[in-house]
Amino acid sequence: MTGDLILDRVQSIVLSIAGPDQIDSDAGPDTPLGDDGFWLDSVSVLEVILACEQEFGKIFDEESGPTADVLRTPRTLADAIRRKMR
């Protein structure tokens, strides 16, 4: 737990979608969502985004969507959600 409510929630969504066999014990908010991290494939990334939208409301513009930078780690995703909620 980081003490940051949004980040904690994003991380728990990522953890639940990645599944236990995909997660290193030292995985944290700065672990990459993709290769060498949570190993999420594109379908899992989509699931993470949709789960976050269900939790926090619409986050991304339908036209432009999320960028690769936003989808780098749980922290970058949480930061994007925070910016949208402001």
């Binding site: 066999d21 494939d41 594109s42 379908v43 990334v45 989509l46 999320p66 690769a68």
Partner: protein
């Protein structure tokens, strides 16, 4: 595949040698692009044949592929045709010598257009890495509104002014900055939810759904399109393409049966249909199946 297995895979990033090769190859494409179509494409096809004879590994793979194909066609002839077509497809992907979309359109035939016209609302055009590239571009050139799942293409040909509309957000699932497949999936979902049409490869990278064993190789079908279909109810039309001489022939097949439950049954029905389609394709056009002969 487990995480440990994944981490053992060779890195896609290149060594200095492969970076140099890429640079040389890009320069070669730029040089060939100066020639009028289809000279550059045909020269490149010839170079791919020559390369197979220099680096024997590729020739061996082509011969092995050819030997696994039924029929009376000579093994060597088929192996050479395979390398030749591979070169031609690489040239076509870079739009070698194709100055204008109209030039592309003149050598384009669309079969099964009635299936495209019959579908209403969200549609997934399901392509494969068999045969020539540019499925979505071909349909766009013919005036169909299709968004392609894929990164912006980089080549001298694609940089031409006339091709810019085919590189923009109306033609591609647009991911600002670096390409990201998950971000493109999100885009695809919204295009489909809005009743649009998305073109994507069934055998791209991603979570595997099932495998189709074919004569000489296996096509691994990924699950992204199944996920999008389940979430949006989109109709899925398989699209195959081949070269007939210099003409790109695009064949749109009837839609796959709608989503059903249980999921296993739905996947099985799709698998059976795709197996039949790809078996037929490999039987008819074995020389155009470079991705099966040269996997990876």
């Amino acid at each position: 595949m487990t995480r440990t297995e994944k981490s053992r895979l060779p890195s896609a990033g290149g060594t200095t040698l492969s970076r140099t090769r890429r640079l040389v190859f890009r320069s070669l494409l730029s040089l060939l692009d100066v020639l009028p179509w289809p000279w550059g494409e045909e020269l490149l096809a010839g170079l791919f044949v020559a390369r197979a004879f220099v680096g024997v590994r590729r020739l061996r793979a082509a011969l092995e592929w050819a030997s696994r194909q039924p029929g009376s066609r000579g093994r060597w002839r088929l192996a050479v045709a395979l390398c030749w077509h591979h070169g031609r497809f690489v040239g076509r992907a870079a739009l070698l010598g194709l100055r204008h979309p109209e030039q592309f359109r003149r050598h384009l035939v669309l079969r099964g257009e009635q299936h495209l016209r019959a579908v209403v609302g969200a549609t997934i055009l399901l392509g494969f890495h068999l045969g020539p590239p540019n499925t979505a571009v071909a349909l766009q050139v013919l005036g169909h509104r299709v968004r392609a799942m894929g990164a912006k293409r980089i080549s001298r040909g694609w940089a031409r002014e006339a091709w810019q509309p085919f590189q923009g957000p109306e033609a591609l699932l647009w991911v600002p900055g670096d390409w990201h497949r998950g971000a493109a999936m999100y885009q695809a979902l919204h295009v489909l939810q809005g009743g649009g049409t998305v073109s994507l490869a069934a055998d791209g990278i991603g979570r595997p759904a099932f495998a189709l064993p074919l004569s000489g190789g296996t096509v691994r079908i990924s699950s992204g399109w199944l996920e999008l279909r389940r979430r949006t109810g989109a109709q899925v039309l398989p699209v195959l393409k081949h070269l007939d001489g210099r003409t790109l022939v695009l064949t749109v097949h009837p839609p796959l049966p709608p989503c059903a439950s249980p999921l296993e049954r739905e996947v099985e029905v799709c698998r059976e249909i795709l197996q039949r389609l790809l078996d037929d394709y490999v039987r008819q056009f074995p020389e155009q199946c470079y991705s099966l002969a040269f996997p990876g």
